[in-house]
Amino acid sequence: MDFETIIGLEIHAELSTKSKMFCGCSTVFGGEPNTKTCPVCLGHPGTLPVANRKAIEYAILLGLALNCEIAERSIFHRKNYFYPDMPKNYQISQYDIPLSRNGFLEIDMGEYKRRVGIIRVHLEEDTGKSIHVGESGRIHGAERSLEDFNRAGIPLVEIVTEPDLRSPEEARNFMMELRAVLEYLGISDCKMEEGSLRCDANISVGVGGSRGTKVEIKNMNSFRALQRALSFEEKRQRDVLLKGGIVTQETRHWDEAAGITHALRTKEEAFDYRYFPEPDLVPIEPDPPWVEELRRSLPEMPAERLRRFISEYGLPKDIAKVLVYDKKLGNFYEETVRKGENPIEIAKWVAGDLAGLLNEASIDADLSPVRPGGVSELVHLVESGVISGRMAKDVLKEAFESGESPRQIVSRKGLSQIADSNEILAIVKQVIKENPQAVSDYLDGKEQALKYLMGQVMKLTRGKANPKMASEMLVEALKMRE
């Protein structure tokens, strides 16, 4: 059968303002329950919301970065439904007049690019958190729940895409691209594991050109989970269709541990949000000077930077991507380049070994124990032949662990490579003298013998001989034997 998968995403990102959307409580993650609350975010009787100007600006910035139209007049609505993590039992959100709409974001899939439509970007407040108490620790089977409102009222942007994505890989790439945009704008922490970036998806599988039934998938808490869940769901729907069945329109929950999606029971919930304009807030009317000022403050976006890294530094695309899709690593890279060494060599070290070390230690590049100056030094040591690439790997690792500079490590451990031709020549002569069999094998045309002899040179120098010089001198000396 001829299947077509169609995916649309609805993404929520917490904005990294200092205070909440409608009150002055701190937005710092975590802490003891209900220690970041006040009468406003607890929904006490008589309290009123006042919008955080920074949150509005962040949302407009995102709209601009996603090529959206910024509304001349936008209003907040109340979305009414009962749930214990919502202090007022309505969420202040936006409805038919969002801050921005009709934008797009392009994703690069290697062989092709896709422009993904953005229906809307709007502002709303986050809910609190329910902690389920019971044997399983999950919502099903819990005896009771504990409500913590520290998160309640943190500003969120909601981004809704057109159903323009055609595969789970595209969905994942879109999320990576969007995360990078949020990171470059500096408006969100984008930590999926802390819940500051969340994603729901609508996925349908159509057959022979007709649209399939839309299924909503929730609870995908990582990029990997997003792709796995959508792949599972794509296959599930295809299997249903192959068996001649009908896909049910429903909301399904991704179970990360089991690796499956399952339908959510909605016994008690009646869905009718009764949206109406929030009377406690007045319209937002971003006037052109305000929007222009924000537009001027837009930083370089990841796609632009990727193009620049390739053209300006001559980087291969895969390496450039590693550097660009981690903004801090990209910044680290550019800072290193400014110190004057070869940009391509620097890129290999930053995107390779250093990125690996940072990742392993869960450290962001801006807090790397090896500073850009250290990496520059390291590249210089390799480029000028003081140490070999192999040695440099160990030096970097040690520098990362101890905080010592690469030059210090090299000199303290006497690691510098032997590049003195007289010293190397003496050892070459010694090796030739001590290994007559190998020499004669080589002279008989057995090429492997050269490798053995080279190994002996390295052994005697404890690996410190400049390999290029040693190999050249060995061949030269053997020639003289012929």
Binding site: P39, L42, G43, H44, P45, G46, T47, L48, P49, V50, A51, R78, N80, F82, P84, P87, K88, N89, Y90, S145, E147, E268, D272, R274, Y275, F276, P279, D280, L281, V282
Partner: protein
């Protein structure tokens, strides 16, 4: 003359000149309360101890020659819909019977900063929903002019307290007439400010786009003074107007010569009790003698105001009252509930009274899928038409006039079983809230021994003008407004 017969400004002068102490004033009111409260029941919770303590502090400050506030030592009654830190705020509901707020409403903070002494939290219709104060979980308040009758509502406790001299002045709130109608029925002065003039922060919301806090006083001067105290921009309320309020008190000249006033035909004829009307026209006559030109004006959209109001207000209320869910504060059912949904349903069923449930149901219905456009959206458009009618009228008139209430105080129990008839008692006051304009009710005489209120409406932020017209009327009529109680 008894201290409790004096108005607030007089008391304030006496205290500041130290001719009488705040403690003496507070004790006089507490004695008066002890005497009449068993009959009137104007208060839900009295703050006698706190008031005595505050009075002593103020007296000490004054004896040391320190600044103690603009109206230092003057008692005040506060409608129990305004949040008072560390003191019960019930909204006359079982839902909040034991609720003790953790912050002061802005209006409350302002009266405290001025040195006013809170004497108690006044009774009201539950969550300010009603026109008779019969919808209080804590029992009905009686009208000091006839204790078989209601004081009006929803600020009936505040109105009765002032009329019965249990407090010289009070704060009320007005969503569809809840200050003006009880002021009219109890023979006192009550003013609903322009929407946004007084902060709503700490006013437990009924209908957010209509609610305003306002003064309820014995006379127009006190009204101007108390309004001046509570008016002004508040950064905690996004709908608060960023503007310095006018000087209301010093603007009371009584000179209204040459002003043009329009009598609104739609709310000053059909449907109004004939005795009330004749009393109202005596007031018109008095204003004409003061030099006001009076003409009739027709504002056709007013016909739809009541219906629009009874869609918009319940719709907003249904959302505002969703927060009472038995989790963070307030009442929670004793029922052993299988799950949270049952807990919600039982808590809200047991915690809210009949009228509150009725309005939540009505508002939920009006906002629900399939009905939003026909009801809520249409009502918001009617609101636009009413504003347009007013704006046309302001081209020609300085103020608009009508009776405040279609009847005088009705008997307790008379309308309680018929919501629609009860809702009709707000027809004269509701258009004002829908348009967000200011209006004042001032006594204009009696019908069968019961006070009649005269409503003066003005363009947005023209409180000074309507106060001055009310002052002229008050001075001209010179009524004796002391109730028999």
């Amino acid at each position: 003359m008894e201290l409790t017969e004096k108005d607030a400004l007089t008391l304030s002068k006496l205290i500041s000149k130290r001719e009488v102490s705040s403690k003496e004033v507070v004790d006089a009111y507490l004695n008066r309360i002890e005497k009449v409260e068993p009959v009137i029941h104007a208060f839900i919770n009295l703050s006698a101890e706190l008031a005595r303590k505050q009075a002593l502090e103020i007296d000490e400050k004054l004896s040391r020659g320190e600044e103690a506030g603009r109206y230092a030592g003057v008692p005040i009654a506060i409608k129990d819909v305004l949040s008072t830190k560390s003191f019960h705020t019930t909204c006359a509901s079982r839902m909040l019977e034991n609720f003790i707020p953790i912050y002061d409403a802005t209006a409350v903070r302002k009266v405290f900063n001025a040195g006013c002494v809170m004497i108690g939290k006044a009774n009201m219709d539950e969550f300010a929903m009603g026109s008779s104060t019969e919808n209080s979980y804590f029992g009905v308040t009686r009208n000091p002019w006839d204790t078989n009758r209601v004081p009006g509502g929803s600020s009936g406790g505040s109105a009765a307290a002032v009329a019965a001299r249990e407090a010289p002045w009070a704060l009320g709130s007005d969503t569809g007439g809840s200050i003006r109608q009880p002021a009219a029925l109890c023979g006192i002065v009550g003013l609903k400010p322009t929407y946004g003039l007084v902060s709503r922060y700490g006013l437990v919301a009924f209908a957010s786009s209509l609610d305003q806090v306002g003064p309820m006083t014995l006379n127009v001067k006190d009204c101007a003074a108390l309004l001046g105290l509570i008016a002004g921009h508040d950064p905690l309320d996004s709908t608060s107007i960023p503007r310095t309020p006018d000087e209301y008190l010093s603007g009371l000249t009584g000179d209204v010569r040459g002003l043009k006033a329009g009598v609104v035909k739609e709310i000053s004829g059909e449907g109004i009790d004939p005795d009330v009307l004749s009393c109202f026209y005596k007031g018109i006559g008095a204003l004409e003698e003061c030099g006001v030109h009076v003409e009739e004006v027709t504002l056709p959209s007013f016909e739809y105001a009541l219906s629009a109001y009874y869609i918009i207000a319940p719709a907003e209320a249904s959302s505002n009252l969703a927060r009472f869910d038995g989790i963070r504060y307030g009442f929670r059912t004793e029922c052993d509930c299988a799950d949270i949904w049952e807990m919600y349903d039982r808590t809200r069923s047991e915690g809210f009274g009949g009228e509150v449930k009725r309005r939540i149901m009505l508002g939920t219905y009006a906002l629900s899928a399939g009905y939003y456009e026909a009801y809520y959206a249409q009502a918001q458009k009617i609101r636009t038409l009413i504003i347009r009618d007013y704006n046309r009228a302001w081209d020609k008139f300085d103020v608009l006039l009508s009776p405040t209430s279609p009847t005088t105080a009705f008997k307790i129990g008379e309308k309680i079983d018929d919501p629609l008839t009860m809702y009709l008692s707000d027809i004269c006051t509701i258009p004002v809230n829908l348009a967000g304009i200011p209006a004042i009710s001032v006594p204009c005489g009696f019908s069968k021994g019961l006070p009649v209120g005269f409503q003066i409406m003005g363009p947005p932020l023209e409180e000074a003008r309507i106060l001055n017209v009310a002052y002229a009327l008050e001075q001209s009529l010179n009524l004796d407004m002391r109730p028999p109680v």
